[in-house]
């Protein structure tokens, strides 16, 4: 099974950066019944139903009512029948279709036994047994061949006997040609001989063969005796009769199977869905993923959420994300290079995966269903669309926003001058703070900290000596970043403001020209 997202769900560059392909490849499995599945965003209702069904199955597995490993192994034996269904509906199944259909119903029966305590589509499952019975009546050897009636079997034997007769007669005929002409021929291959050949006159006079001159070559061909011709004709006639009987049989099978089509189509669809659920459960278990829990109130709580490409890259040094987002406006305040954008991307990754019905790499996640997820990252504008970075940001906010959407924005209105950016940030944050949605942005603007009714967060600071005596290299600094989020309570806003001088400290630790560093130090003192 190969999972794919429907096109344009995640922008191309972001999909690559967040390695959605890698995450989806965790679900790769050899399941002929589900070779490929395109995931589309789920509505809240369908999404909740989807995860509810997964949770129910999970319970059945935990209660040992389902043996998932065995079920998956058996599911892998079920063939894909998508190519058979239209023929079943149109009563035009051929012998090779019956084979796949028979294989499906018989392997499915074993699967049904494994699911005995929690059967799927019980109202239509009986059709599989009926199909199996019909196929067993008319086919043989695990549905691989049609079953012959005594009359058909007799006919088959007759055709075989005629075939043997024909071979014997042809062999005798070839020997006669050889005796009369010295020419070794094997029916049906003609022979090309030269006029200079020693036996040419014998060949020309032999009544068993014909000689025609074609360009500069004499072509010797066969003159079959009436007896041989009769055998050929009789074999041909019987063969046609046999074909006619087989076609009649096939028609009968089609007629018997057709009333079961609708029930079977429903069952087959259910079986494919159920197989998909089994795969999700197996991968969840194998990869230690989690299913989301849904709440009626708006908001999102993540515990130890992992962004897979970053987790893979940093291994044991990776710090998973823990965060509570409230309904309304949420602002992540903090210095550069503290991991604010990574927080946004991690949330986006999880919300998108849940929206598509997948388990996620986290210890726990509780939220309202993410029916709409919008993300705006800093951009350099778009020349083709004649939009500056500010224009792009403004355009982002013109999108239709459904109630309960998640809107994630990196560096809110950093795309314009600080005065205008601050004013716009305040206006938008105040507006979103009263809406039934989750708005989460990062910002440097200090003025937003004083806004009422917004939830404030900050990234935990880099812990290093202010008077470090050596130049810090970039990778060392990255290792020092704690990547942790703290909620800023109103009484701590003052401290948070002080930390706006952090970028100056950070810059001081890079091998910048001494003249610049001197000015930074003066600024810090002042």
């Amino acid at each position: 099974m190969k999972l794919e997202f429907e096109q344009k769900i995640v922008p191309d560059g972001l999909s690559e950066e967040l390695d959605f392909y890698g995450f989806l490849s965790l679900f790769d499995m050899d399941i002929p019944l589900l070779p490929r599945k395109i995931l589309r965003p789920l509505t809240a209702e369908k999404g909740k139903g989807h995860f509810r069904r997964l949770q129910d199955l999970q319970k059945q597995i935990e209660q040992k009512k389902l043996d998932l490993e065995k079920i998956i192994a058996q599911s892998q034996k079920l063939p894909l029948l998508d190519f058979v269904l239209p023929f079943l509906e149109n009563q035009s199944l051929e012998q090779f279709h019956l084979y796949s259909l028979g294989k499906f119903v018989s392997e499915n029966q074993i699967l049904q036994e494994l699911e005995m305590e929690c059967p799927i589509a019980p109202e239509s499952s009986e059709c599989c047994l009926k199909i199996k019975a019909i196929l067993e009546t008319h086919t043989q050897k695990q549905f691989s061949g049609l079953r012959y009636t005594p009359e058909e079997q007799k006919l088959r034997e007759k055709i075989e006997k005629l075939g043997q007769d024909l071979r014997t007669k042809l062999s005798q005929y070839e020997q006669k040609i050889y005796k009369q002409t010295g020419l070794k021929m094997i029916y049906p291959y003609p022979k090309e001989i030269s006029q200079e050949a020693e036996n040419f006159s014998k060949i020309q006079n032999c009544k068993l063969i014909s000689v025609t001159c074609k360009q500069d070559i004499n072509l010797v061909n066969y003159r079959l005796s009436p007896y041989i011709k009769n055998i050929v004709m009789e074999k041909d006639t019987l063969s046609k009769k046999f074909t006619h009987l087989m076609k009649k049989k096939l028609k009968k099978i089609n007629k018997e199977l057709h009333p079961l089509f609708k029930a079977f189509r429903n069952y087959y669809g259910e079986r494919k869905n159920q197989t998909f659920y089994y795969v999700l459960l197996l991968v969840k278990h194998r990869q230690s993923l989690c299913f989301p829990k849904f709440q009626t109130s708006l908001g999102c709580t993540l515990k130890n959420a992992i962004l897979p490409p970053l987790g893979k890259q940093k291994k044991e040094k990776y710090i998973p994300l823990n965060l509570d987002l409230d309904c309304g406006a949420n602002v992540l305040f903090g210095a550069n290079m503290t991991g604010k954008t990574t927080v946004l991307k991690t949330i986006y990754f999880h919300l998108t995966a849940i929206r598509m019905g997948l388990p996620v790499p986290a210890e726990y996640i509780q939220l309202h269903f993410p029916e709409q997820v919008e993300l705006h990252l800093k951009s350099a504008g778009n020349i083709r669309r004649n939009l500056s970075s500010f224009g792009e940001e403004i355009e982002f906010f013109t999108k239709e926003i459904a109630p309960s959407a998640y809107i994630l924005v990196d560096e809110l209105f950093q795309s314009t001058d600080p005065v205008g950016g601050t004013e716009l940030s305040k206006i938008f944050l105040l507006d979103f703070s009263h809406k039934n949605l989750v708005f989460f942005c990062t910002s440097h603007y200090r003025e937003v900290l004083h806004l009422q009714d917004i939830s404030l967060f900050r990234m935990k600071d880099v812990d290093f000596d202010e008077e470090i005596g050596y130049d810090l290299i970039f990778n060392n600094l990255l290792e020092k970043i704690p990547y942790q989020i703290q909620r800023i309570l109103p009484e701590n806003i003052g401290n948070a403001l002080k930390e706006s001088r952090k970028p100056l400290f950070i810059a001081l630790h890079f091998p910048l020209p001494e003249s610049i560093k001197e000015k930074i130090r003066e600024q810090l003192k002042g």
Binding site: P35, R36, P79, L80, D82, F83, E94, Q95, F96, H97, Y99, S100, K141, F143, S144, G145, L146, Y148, E152, R156, I159, E160, G163, K184, M185, I186, Y189, P190, K191, E192, I193, S194, Q215, D216, I217, S239, F242, T243, L245, M246, K247, K249, L250
Partner: protein
């Protein structure tokens, strides 16, 4: 016999195949339409049946469709593939209507791995059938894997086509039967002559071979490299359409270098490369040498050295001679037969 050959056939050439543990894939290609490919396929199939006394499964398949009913040139019915009871076949589902009940199912090759539904079946009767199989390398390889799984130690006979270059890849074919039409039509005759020339091409050195096999990726269409194995260019486009490849060839024309091609050495590419005397061209396999002639091509003298990456694995050449007036230089060490002129009993496969 009016056909000349460069040297005598070595002794022991006509040893029959001994069934090995693995499946053996034999592909059939013809130099032209009506070269008699199906006739030879039928012949080799019957001979294999005799040789193996029915103990080794034989499966017949085709690249694309085999089964034009009518001879394009002469408006005569064309031979079809005649299968015997116990043999296996692969064909598209739509060709099985007339043989319902006469075969036993072994496997259905279905989408999405295959663009069409192909059926692997075993004959319960003798019957004639139109063979149709996948037309691309990946599907053929998948098909082969399944046949090998279901019919180990079998022979897979593929009715191929000279313009399906992947057929010469060692993962696809273990050996070839090459059917050559010696026609009175000038163009056909030249085509046969050029194709026979391609069979006598030598393989590249072990050093080049090792280097290429380590450097090539699945989608590499061309690779330009120096004697010290420094890669100058790696192309993913069809070589004759790859402008960058041509630019690089010009850039290095005064130095000694080699170019690997995994795409037809087309007439335009041939003309372009013809003056490059320092160049060694290594074709992936002999089927890439098509519709061109290094000997006589409208006065163009072809200066590069021409080699092959994969050796020519032509087991036998079968000739169909429309005329006795023309003779063809035949490659060394490949047995040549004329089914219609020699004692058919003596022809070994």
């Amino acid at each position: 016999m009016t056909v000349s050959r460069n040297s005598q056939i070595s002794s022991g050439e006509s040893r029959p195949y001994k069934p090995k543990k693995a499946m053996k894939t034999l592909s059939f290609i013809g130099s032209d339409k009506n070269a008699g490919k199906t006739t030879i396929l039928n012949f080799v199939y019957r001979k294999l049946q005799e040789n193996t006394k029915g103990k080794t499964p034989i499966c017949l398949a085709s690249i694309g469709i085999n089964g034009e009913d009518i001879d394009f040139y002469e408006n005569q019915p064309k031979p079809t593939v005649s299968l015997c009871k116990g043999s296996c076949f692969i064909t598209a589902g739509e060709h099985l209507q007339e043989v319902t009940g006469k075969y036993k199912m072994l496997h259905n090759f279905t989408n999405p791995d295959f663009k069409k539904i192909y059926v692997l079946g075993e004959c319960l009767f003798d019957f004639q059938i139109i063979l149709e199989g996948p037309n691309n390398k990946h599907e053929i390889l998948r098909m082969k894997r399944k046949v090998e799984e279901l019919l180990p130690q079998s022979y897979l006979l593929i009715d191929g086509s000279i313009d399906r270059q992947f057929l010469a890849h060692p993962a696809i074919s273990d050996a070839f039967y090459f059917v050559v039409l010696i026609s009175t039509r000038k163009e056909q005759f030249q085509k046969a002559k050029d194709l026979l020339f391609s069979l006598s091409l030598h393989t590249c050195s072990k050093k080049q071979n090792d280097f290429l096999k380590n450097s090539l990726e699945e989608d590499t269409k061309s690779l330009l490299f120096r004697e010290n194995n420094q890669v100058l260019y790696c192309g993913k486009k069809i070589p004759f359409l790859d402008m960058k490849l041509k630019k690089m060839c010009i850039k290095y024309k005064n130095r000694k270098y080699s170019i690997y091609l995994n795409g037809a050495l087309s007439k335009s590419l041939f003309t372009f490369l013809a003056p490059l005397k320092n160049l060694t061209i290594i074709l992936d396999n002999f089927t890439l040498y098509q519709n061109i002639s290094v000997h006589n091509n409208h006065g163009i003298i072809f200066r590069p050295k021409l080699l092959l990456l994969y050796p020519v694995k032509v087991q036998r050449i079968f000739l169909k001679q429309e005329t006795s007036q023309y003779s063809l230089p035949l490659p060394e060490n490949i047995p040549v037969h004329n089914l219609f002129r020699e004692d058919i009993h003596e022809i070994r496969i």
